[in-house]
């Protein structure tokens, strides 16, 4: 009987937590599918009585969607490529350094993720204005790399640490050149980890808000476009944009769930 009570206690709480977590997401998707008469009343309705694709149709046909979507997508892809290109070789070296050096440098990387973004974004924005990089994709990619590189390096060092040095030595004994050991043995072995890190990089850039806010005057990214509709008080456009922004993130996060280790996320989530 006591056992029964205990089981009920834990399941009761889990249901509550699940509801608390799920409800806001449901509400957002529901609003993106509801007609205004149902939501903008003193007694808004919670269910899904009459779904309408009206807001999604306006979203797709209005012409305000494609430029921000394209910019966000392109910037995320370039950031991903840049981050992997810069971080992979460095992470390999870091993983093979003597422990004191390694932890010192990793601590530095970690600290660079802890810095307030409004502090970095300000001088960057001022400088990019004079370099003509504001409102360009290049400028935003450069800014996103600031945020993404430490995370990607962090994840990749963990990956390279799992590859034993003996594998490299064996390849060298077999007559492999040092560079060839890397390109033919080590990097292929690390490919799954690199793929995970690349996806994290893509997501971080896709979600990024603060640098984009400082570095965009007229050409919005998708998060900025969402923010714009919220400040205009347009519930339905905000809901469709926010849902659209979330879908890829949710898909990727869900598929990466087993890689979501506490260490990877340090500083990846913030208010």
């Amino acid at each position: 009987m006591r056992r029964m009570h205990r089981v009920l206690w834990w399941y009761g709480w889990s249901v509550l937590v699940v509801l608390f977590t799920f409800f806001p997401v449901y509400l957002m998707v529901k609003i993106s599918l509801s007609s205004p008469t149902e939501v903008l009343t003193p007694h808004p309705f919670l269910g899904l009585p009459a779904m309408t694709g009206e807001h999604w149709r306006t979203l797709l046909t209005s012409g305000t969607l494609w430029p921000p979507l394209g910019k966000s997508f392109a910037v995320a892809c370039w950031t991903m490529l840049g981050a992997v290109g810069l971080a992979t070789p460095a992470a390999y070296v870091l993983a093979r350094l003597p422990p004191t050096w390694k932890y010192g440098l990793l601590l530095g990387l970690f600290a660079s993720r802890m810095v307030p973004e409004v502090g970095i974004a300000l001088p960057i924005a001022v400088r990019f204005l004079s370099w003509g990089l504001v409102d360009t994709q290049v400028g935003l990619v450069l800014a996103h790399l600031i945020k993404v590189l430490p995370l990607v390096t962090w994840v990749l060092v963990g990956t390279f640490e799992t590859i034993p040095v003996e594998v490299e030595e064996a390849a060298q004994v077999d007559g492999c050149h040092r560079l060839a050991v890397l390109t033919r043995v080590v990097f292929p072995l690390a490919a799954p980890g690199v793929a995970v890190a690349a996806l994290f990089a893509w997501l971080e850039s896709w979600n990024e808000f603060t640098y984009a806010l400082y570095l965009s005057l007229t050409e919005n990214t998708l998060p900025l476009q969402t923010y714009y509709y919220v400040t205009r008080g347009n519930w339905f456009d905000a809901a469709t944009y926010a849902t659209l922004l979330t879908v890829p993130v949710m898909i990727v996060t869900a598929s990466l769930q087993r890689y979501l280790k506490a260490g990877y996320l340090t500083g990846a989530v913030q208010g």
């Binding site: 889990s14 957002m28 810069l86 460095a90 070296v93 979501l260």
Partner: protein, 286 residues
């Protein structure tokens, strides 16, 4: 010797681009932010405290500082409590754990800005919470949740909690998994109740994870930006949004840099304190 040199040349070349990038795009901007914050706006004299004096004299400053400190202290305590609670729930839920885990971790996959949008639907003046309370008869006229008083702090806290608890949960889960089952079993055999086992075994063994979570969350909480910007805007400033509006709306990079440097100082203090405590603890052990 040439071989050795060759070896380190290759390693150096591989490490160099990352280091250069971090110096040019993180180190130098930070330095310039701090330098600008100590440069007088009119005469460009350095060092000068004028920007900080100007910052402190802003009407928005003391609420911003108070809100930031309040959100950090209360917010982080609540996040740790909830994160630990949810981790314990996940540990005890056997049937359907994978599903529960996936749903509970969804906020990790929701961009912060979107979390803000969701909470405007709940707490906007025509939002669902007001409608619900009106239907229950608790209130007659809709409450202005996001107007800037303690209500808004509560909403902000709720949104932050919703978004961030899963990360704390992950840290706690990792910590809980590292506790040897044999210790808990031994205590159970000796007749310790579930509560006492938690208090005397689980919690002390969880201390490293708890410390890590507190520090990580505190650092992030100081930097809170997107949620207040979107949910409450000017009516509830924090240091981050103050720094933004000083630059973007009033075109004053000097006070903005001062606010950002203040934030940086608080974070550095927090991180430095943690490292100091860790170093001292390690000395005590050896």
């Amino acid at each position: 010797m040439p071989r050795l040199l060759q070896r380190y040349t290759l390693h150096g070349l591989m490490l160099l681009p990352l280091c250069v990038y971090l110096v040019v795009f993180t180190g130098l901007p930070l330095l310039s932010c701090v330098v600008v914050s100590f440069t007088d706006a009119a005469s460009h004299a350095f060092p000068s405290w004028n920007n900080y004096l100007a910052l402190v004299s802003l009407g928005q400053f003391s609420p911003a500082l108070r809100n930031t400190l309040w959100l950090t202290s209360v917010g982080v305590s609540l996040e740790i409590l909830c994160g630990l609670g949810v981790a314990l729930i996940l540990q005890h839920v056997v049937w359907g754990r994978a599903v529960v885990r996936t749903i509970i971790l969804t906020p990790l996959g929701v961009p912060t800005i979107v979390a803000g949008v969701m909470f405007t639907y709940l707490f906007g003046s025509t939002g669902y919470i007001n409608a619900f309370l009106q239907r229950l008869g608790v209130i007659d006229i809709p409450l202005d949740w996001l107007g800037g008083d303690w209500h808004s702090l509560g909403v902000l806290l709720g949104a932050e909690l919703w978004k961030v608890t899963p990360m704390v949960t992950l840290i706690m889960l990792a910590g809980l998994e590292s506790i040897p089952a044999s210790a808990l079993e031994a205590a159970a055999v000796d007749g310790a109740s579930g509560w006492r086992r938690f208090w005397y075994i689980t919690l002390p063994l969880l201390r490293p994870s708890l410390t890590m979570a507190v520090v990580l969350r505190a650092i992030d909480a100081f930097r809170i930006f997107e949620l207040p910007l979107l949910l409450t805007g000017k009516s509830l400033p924090v240091l981050g949004t103050l720094a933004y509006s000083e630059y973007y709306e009033y075109d004053n990079p000097f006070t903005s840099a001062a606010a950002a440097s203040l934030l940086l100082g608080m974070i550095a203090l927090c991180l430095g304190g943690y490292l100091l405590v860790m170093a001292r603890r390690q000395e005590g052990l050896s």
